[in-house]
């Protein structure tokens, strides 16, 4: 912190120094503390999680390393004469997205429980729903960053010619990322209470990812082959319906993961 900022802070601190609690049955004036706001609370929690992730970089590093290794392995086990790249790539892309995303989900609640910071958060005026929203947002950012790394890597390694299909593919990726982070955050909250959380999280969530990953892979394949969206409307509907159903469902289910 710079000297200038420190001085400013000190001035504000001394302004509060004369505060004392007056009276015995004195209840704090209502306007001294702000009421909890869903959006502000969620944003603050998301920011906190992202700052922590940025400082430790553990999740992002693991996901990035895994992704690169996986792409390389897929590439070397692939016979380009038997299968054209554009047929293999969507499947490879989405398998890597899923597992790389899973690698990062566990840390969502790991740090909360390590020193019981979660208790302090739960005891504060912040609502349970905003805790979930904040963590889901942070996981969404994480998953999106991973996808932003993997997608160009796959295109590069497999020499794909994507062209105008970039935009629709990014759209599909974001839609799927929303569902992935909602379900992933909720199950991370569940798994954090168990032993072998890293093992349990994939086991629980992969069946839930099927209605996300399958449509997303099909749509990706569609766009990479230059076919129009009309051919894949069914898949798009499943993807959107999943997001619309599961995001609220996970928000509602989250308070039940907390012991009360």
């Amino acid at each position: 912190m710079s000297e200038h900022v420190r001085e400013q802070l000190h001035e504000r601190v001394t302004a509060h120094a004369g505060e004392r609690v007056t009276g015995i049955a004195h209840v704090r004036e209502p306007d001294a503390l702000r009421a909890p706001s869903f959006v502000a609370d969620a944003w603050r929690i998301a920011r906190k999680d992202l700052v922590i992730e940025f400082r430790t970089r553990s999740g992002l590093l693991a996901s990035a390393v895994f992704s690169v290794l996986a792409v390389v392995m897929f590439h070397f086990t692939w016979d380009p004469t038997a299968i054209p790249a554009v047929d293999l790539a969507p499947g490879v892309l989405w398998v890597i997205f899923t597992f790389a995303g899973l690698l990062g989900l566990n840390r969502s609640f790991g740090l909360e429980l390590a020193d019981r910071a979660y208790d302090a958060l739960l005891a504060s005026p912040v609502s349970r729903e905003s805790i979930f929203a904040g963590k889901m947002l942070a996981n969404l950012a994480f998953v999106t960053v991973v996808q932003a790394l993997v997608l160009p890597a796959v295109v590069l390694f497999f020499n794909l010619d994507v062209g105008a299909a970039w935009l629709p593919i990014v759209g599909v990726v974001l839609l799927a990322a929303i569902g992935l982070s909602a379900v992933g955050t909720l199950f991370a909250a569940i798994a954090a209470n168990t032993r072998l959380a890293e093992l349990l999280l994939p086991m629980m969530t992969l069946p839930f990812f099927i209605p996300l990953v399958l449509p997303a892979a099909q749509l990706t394949s569609l766009f990479m082959n230059g076919r129009p969206l009309a051919d894949g409307m069914g898949w798009l509907k499943v993807l959107v319906a999943f997001d619309l159903v599961f995001v609220p469902a996970c928000v509602l289910a989250f308070p039940f993961t907390i012991e009360e």
Partner: protein
Amino acid sequence: MTSVSSTASAPLKAPLAAASPKGFDWFLAVAVVACIAASVRAMFYTPADAMLGEAQKIFYIHVPAAIVGLYLACSLLAICSLVYLWIRDERLDRLAESSAEVGLVFMGMVLITGPIWARTSWGTWWQWEARITSTLFLWLLVLGYLVLRNAVESTEQRARLSAVMGSLAALLVPFIHLTVLLFRGMHPPPVVLTPNNPQKNLPPEMRLTFLFATLAFLLLFFALLRMRYRWAAMRDARAALEHG
């Protein structure tokens, strides 16, 4: 403290005794006899299908197991999970747990008989046909549910967390069906009779055998469910005694 502990354990021993009744399990015996009878009827007293031959008779295991394992057990699991979150009665949790395990067994039967039928009919072990694919995914889902239960120490937490998963699983099932159907829509299977597409009009003897088999499997399901539920109640009573 010795006097305190004996009076404390007396009321706890009662449910333990009630959960482990002495004597023969008549219900299970009847169910097993019914299953044997149904098998005998299917094998020896029911005509074979003209086109598909004797191998078609696996249909009398495959479809009833699917009805019981998929529709009955999974519905029970979903309903118990949802209601548990509402009223928090631990009996619902035990019922969900038992339903999941017994359902897993029946779904396993579906997943075994399916490939056997496919192999004998067409020479391939697996067809990515809509219903059996959905069964596979549901089987994995229920397995995940049971692994979760196994990984949580505290009883209350285990009940609550698995109820959350069970409730979300209930929401997931239509999406899985939809996804698989869409997938199959892209690759329509050859128009053959599979165990999942029985002829609409079964001759009366086959229909009767089918009904008999379904009834026998239903009896077996409930007998096993009851047995498993009692085992769970005993285990919980014993754990309460140890902690009390």
